[in-house]
Amino acid sequence: MLKTYEGSCHCGAVRFEADLDLTQPTYRCNCSICRRNRFWAAIATPDTFRLLAGADELTEYRFNSRKSQHFFCRVCGVRAFGIGNDTPVGTMVGVNVGCLEGVSEETLSKIPITCVDGMNDRWTERPEFFSHL
Protein backbone atom coordinates (compact mmCIF):
# COMPACT_ATOMS: atom_id res chain seq x y z
CA MET A 1 0.00 0.00 0.00
CA LEU A 2 1.27 3.46 -0.87
CA LYS A 3 2.33 5.63 2.01
CA THR A 4 3.71 9.15 1.84
CA TYR A 5 7.28 9.55 3.09
CA GLU A 6 9.36 12.65 3.47
CA GLY A 7 13.06 12.60 2.81
CA SER A 8 16.09 14.79 2.36
CA CYS A 9 19.72 14.93 1.45
CA HIS A 10 22.05 15.13 4.45
CA CYS A 11 22.31 18.87 4.88
CA GLY A 12 18.57 19.36 4.35
CA ALA A 13 18.84 21.69 1.38
CA VAL A 14 17.03 19.15 -0.82
CA ARG A 15 13.71 17.92 0.52
CA PHE A 16 11.11 15.74 -1.12
CA GLU A 17 8.04 13.67 -0.51
CA ALA A 18 7.18 10.43 -2.25
CA ASP A 19 4.32 7.95 -2.18
CA LEU A 20 5.98 4.56 -1.87
CA ASP A 21 5.07 0.97 -1.09
CA LEU A 22 8.03 -0.39 0.84
CA THR A 23 6.60 -3.92 0.79
CA GLN A 24 7.35 -3.96 -2.95
CA PRO A 25 10.84 -4.64 -4.33
CA THR A 26 13.46 -1.94 -4.07
CA TYR A 27 16.57 -2.05 -6.23
CA ARG A 28 20.32 -2.19 -5.90
CA CYS A 29 22.60 -2.34 -8.90
CA ASN A 30 26.25 -3.03 -9.71
CA CYS A 31 26.64 -0.53 -12.54
CA SER A 32 29.48 1.95 -12.51
CA ILE A 33 27.63 4.69 -10.69
CA CYS A 34 25.33 2.68 -8.41
CA ARG A 35 28.32 0.63 -7.27
CA ARG A 36 30.10 3.75 -6.05
CA ASN A 37 27.36 4.89 -3.75
CA ARG A 38 25.34 1.71 -3.28
CA PHE A 39 22.28 3.44 -4.64
CA TRP A 40 19.22 1.83 -3.04
CA ALA A 41 16.16 2.87 -4.97
CA ALA A 42 12.50 2.70 -4.15
CA ILE A 43 10.45 3.31 -7.24
CA ALA A 44 8.18 6.31 -7.68
CA THR A 45 6.80 8.03 -10.75
CA PRO A 46 6.62 11.72 -11.64
CA ASP A 47 3.08 11.66 -10.21
CA THR A 48 4.11 10.19 -6.87
CA PHE A 49 7.28 12.20 -6.28
CA ARG A 50 7.30 15.85 -5.23
CA LEU A 51 10.40 17.96 -4.79
CA LEU A 52 9.62 20.26 -1.86
CA ALA A 53 12.83 22.29 -1.69
CA GLY A 54 16.28 22.59 -3.14
CA ALA A 55 15.78 22.60 -6.90
CA ASP A 56 18.50 25.24 -7.14
CA GLU A 57 20.89 23.16 -5.00
CA LEU A 58 20.76 20.12 -7.27
CA THR A 59 23.55 19.29 -9.66
CA GLU A 60 22.60 17.01 -12.54
CA TYR A 61 25.02 14.39 -13.80
CA ARG A 62 24.52 12.33 -16.94
CA PHE A 63 26.77 9.79 -18.63
CA ASN A 64 26.82 7.09 -21.31
CA SER A 65 23.41 7.19 -23.03
CA ARG A 66 22.68 10.35 -21.02
CA LYS A 67 19.08 9.22 -20.64
CA SER A 68 19.09 9.02 -16.86
CA GLN A 69 19.35 12.12 -14.72
CA HIS A 70 21.50 11.62 -11.62
CA PHE A 71 20.97 14.43 -9.17
CA PHE A 72 22.97 15.24 -6.06
CA CYS A 73 23.00 18.08 -3.58
CA ARG A 74 25.85 20.43 -4.34
CA VAL A 75 26.32 21.17 -0.61
CA CYS A 76 26.53 17.65 0.90
CA GLY A 77 26.90 15.54 -2.24
CA VAL A 78 24.04 13.19 -1.41
CA ARG A 79 21.99 11.61 -4.21
CA ALA A 80 18.46 11.79 -2.87
CA PHE A 81 16.83 10.68 -6.11
CA GLY A 82 17.37 10.15 -9.80
CA ILE A 83 15.14 10.06 -12.86
CA GLY A 84 15.16 7.29 -15.45
CA ASN A 85 13.64 8.66 -18.64
CA ASP A 86 13.76 5.54 -20.76
CA THR A 87 12.74 2.50 -18.72
CA PRO A 88 10.39 -0.36 -19.61
CA VAL A 89 7.69 1.34 -17.53
CA GLY A 90 8.30 4.86 -18.77
CA THR A 91 9.72 7.65 -16.67
CA MET A 92 10.70 6.46 -13.21
CA VAL A 93 11.96 8.26 -10.14
CA GLY A 94 14.44 6.25 -8.10
CA VAL A 95 14.20 7.45 -4.52
CA ASN A 96 17.18 6.79 -2.24
CA VAL A 97 15.75 4.68 0.60
CA GLY A 98 18.58 5.87 2.86
CA CYS A 99 17.22 9.41 2.57
CA LEU A 100 13.74 8.60 3.86
CA GLU A 101 12.65 9.89 7.23
CA GLY A 102 10.51 8.08 9.77
CA VAL A 103 11.47 4.57 8.66
CA SER A 104 12.73 2.46 11.55
CA GLU A 105 15.85 0.32 11.35
CA GLU A 106 13.62 -2.71 11.70
CA THR A 107 11.45 -1.64 8.77
CA LEU A 108 14.52 -0.85 6.66
CA SER A 109 15.89 -4.31 7.34
CA LYS A 110 12.67 -5.93 6.02
CA ILE A 111 12.36 -4.03 2.74
CA PRO A 112 12.61 -6.50 -0.15
CA ILE A 113 15.67 -5.85 -2.31
CA THR A 114 16.15 -6.95 -5.91
CA CYS A 115 19.72 -6.77 -7.23
CA VAL A 116 20.20 -6.12 -10.93
CA ASP A 117 23.23 -6.65 -13.16
CA GLY A 118 23.56 -3.16 -14.59
CA MET A 119 27.31 -3.67 -15.03
CA ASN A 120 26.54 -6.15 -17.83
CA ASP A 121 23.48 -4.32 -19.11
CA ARG A 122 21.22 -7.07 -17.75
CA TRP A 123 18.68 -4.93 -15.97
CA THR A 124 16.25 -7.75 -15.26
CA GLU A 125 18.82 -10.30 -14.07
CA ARG A 126 20.52 -10.79 -10.72
CA PRO A 127 24.30 -10.46 -10.91
CA GLU A 128 26.52 -13.40 -10.01
CA PHE A 129 27.86 -11.56 -6.96
CA PHE A 130 25.57 -9.22 -5.08
CA SER A 131 26.14 -9.54 -1.33
CA HIS A 132 28.12 -6.30 -1.29
CA LEU A 133 25.42 -4.26 -3.02
Binding site: H10, I33, Y61, R74
Partner: protein, 115 residues
Protein backbone atom coordinates in the same frame (compact mmCIF):
# COMPACT_ATOMS: atom_id res chain seq x y z
CA UNK B 1 49.44 -3.36 -2.73
CA UNK B 2 48.64 -0.21 -4.65
CA UNK B 3 45.09 0.40 -5.85
CA UNK B 4 43.71 2.98 -8.19
CA UNK B 5 40.30 4.52 -7.73
CA UNK B 6 38.13 7.41 -8.76
CA UNK B 7 34.75 9.03 -8.58
CA UNK B 8 32.45 8.18 -11.49
CA UNK B 9 33.50 10.84 -13.97
CA UNK B 10 37.19 10.35 -13.19
CA UNK B 11 38.02 13.88 -12.06
CA UNK B 12 38.75 12.71 -8.53
CA UNK B 13 41.23 9.96 -9.32
CA UNK B 14 43.52 8.65 -6.61
CA UNK B 15 45.94 5.91 -5.65
CA UNK B 16 45.98 4.21 -2.29
CA UNK B 17 48.43 1.75 -0.85
CA UNK B 18 47.77 -0.89 1.77
CA UNK B 19 46.23 -4.25 2.53
CA UNK B 20 42.46 -4.46 2.43
CA UNK B 21 41.68 -6.74 5.35
CA UNK B 22 38.17 -5.52 6.00
CA UNK B 23 35.67 -2.76 5.52
CA UNK B 24 33.25 -0.83 7.67
CA UNK B 25 29.64 -0.16 6.83
CA UNK B 26 28.02 2.52 8.94
CA UNK B 27 24.36 3.46 9.42
CA UNK B 28 24.84 7.08 10.52
CA UNK B 29 22.80 9.87 8.97
CA UNK B 30 25.36 10.52 6.25
CA UNK B 31 26.62 6.98 5.56
CA UNK B 32 23.10 5.62 5.17
CA UNK B 33 22.55 8.22 2.47
CA UNK B 34 25.78 7.81 0.57
CA UNK B 35 26.33 4.09 1.04
CA UNK B 36 30.11 4.06 1.30
CA UNK B 37 32.06 0.96 2.26
CA UNK B 38 34.95 2.35 4.27
CA UNK B 39 38.57 1.27 4.51
CA UNK B 40 40.78 3.23 6.88
CA UNK B 41 44.38 4.00 5.97
CA UNK B 42 46.94 6.57 7.08
CA UNK B 43 46.31 9.67 4.99
CA UNK B 44 49.80 9.61 3.52
CA UNK B 45 49.03 6.26 1.86
CA UNK B 46 46.41 8.03 -0.23
CA UNK B 47 47.62 10.08 -3.17
CA UNK B 48 45.08 12.29 -4.85
CA UNK B 49 45.80 12.55 -8.59
CA UNK B 50 43.79 15.73 -8.84
CA UNK B 51 43.87 19.14 -7.27
CA UNK B 52 42.29 18.83 -3.81
CA UNK B 53 40.80 22.29 -4.27
CA UNK B 54 38.78 20.92 -7.18
CA UNK B 55 36.85 18.64 -4.82
CA UNK B 56 33.88 19.69 -2.72
CA UNK B 57 34.07 19.23 1.02
CA UNK B 58 31.19 18.61 3.39
CA UNK B 59 31.39 18.64 7.18
CA UNK B 60 28.68 18.32 9.82
CA UNK B 61 28.10 17.78 13.54
CA UNK B 62 31.57 18.26 15.10
CA UNK B 63 33.01 19.26 11.71
CA UNK B 64 36.15 17.19 12.28
CA UNK B 65 35.84 14.86 9.29
CA UNK B 66 36.20 16.32 5.83
CA UNK B 67 33.91 14.40 3.50
CA UNK B 68 35.26 14.92 -0.01
CA UNK B 69 33.11 14.53 -3.08
CA UNK B 70 33.33 15.33 -6.75
CA UNK B 71 31.34 18.44 -7.66
CA UNK B 72 30.77 17.11 -11.17
CA UNK B 73 29.39 13.58 -10.55
CA UNK B 74 28.66 13.71 -6.81
CA UNK B 75 30.57 10.58 -5.85
CA UNK B 76 32.34 10.47 -2.49
CA UNK B 77 35.73 8.73 -2.89
CA UNK B 78 37.08 9.41 0.62
CA UNK B 79 36.88 11.35 3.83
CA UNK B 80 39.70 12.45 6.05
CA UNK B 81 40.33 13.34 9.64
CA UNK B 82 42.60 12.73 12.62
CA UNK B 83 42.45 9.65 14.85
CA UNK B 84 42.63 9.69 18.67
CA UNK B 85 46.41 9.55 18.57
CA UNK B 86 46.58 12.55 16.28
CA UNK B 87 47.43 10.62 13.12
CA UNK B 88 45.98 11.88 9.85
CA UNK B 89 43.71 9.18 8.46
CA UNK B 90 41.65 8.64 5.35
CA UNK B 91 38.45 6.64 5.06
CA UNK B 92 38.50 5.38 1.49
CA UNK B 93 35.26 4.32 -0.17
CA UNK B 94 36.15 0.82 -1.39
CA UNK B 95 33.33 1.03 -3.91
CA UNK B 96 35.47 3.50 -5.84
CA UNK B 97 38.49 1.20 -6.24
CA UNK B 98 39.28 -0.65 -9.43
CA UNK B 99 40.05 -4.37 -9.46
CA UNK B 100 38.65 -5.18 -6.03
CA UNK B 101 36.21 -8.04 -5.49
CA UNK B 102 33.95 -6.33 -2.99
CA UNK B 103 31.86 -9.39 -2.17
CA UNK B 104 34.99 -11.13 -0.83
CA UNK B 105 35.83 -8.43 1.73
CA UNK B 106 34.61 -8.99 5.30
CA UNK B 107 32.38 -6.14 6.40
CA UNK B 108 31.98 -4.93 9.95
CA UNK B 109 28.73 -3.10 10.67
CA UNK B 110 29.13 0.07 12.73
CA UNK B 111 26.18 1.55 14.59
CA UNK B 112 27.04 5.18 13.84
CA UNK B 113 23.41 6.14 14.24
CA UNK B 114 23.70 5.44 17.96
CA UNK B 115 26.52 7.95 18.50
Amino acid sequence: MKYRGSCHCGRAAFEVEGTIDGAMSCNCSLCSRKGALLWFVPRDQLTLLADEAALSTYTFNKHVIKHRFCPHCGIHPYGEGVDRKGNRMAAVNLRCLEGVELSAIPVQEFDGRAL
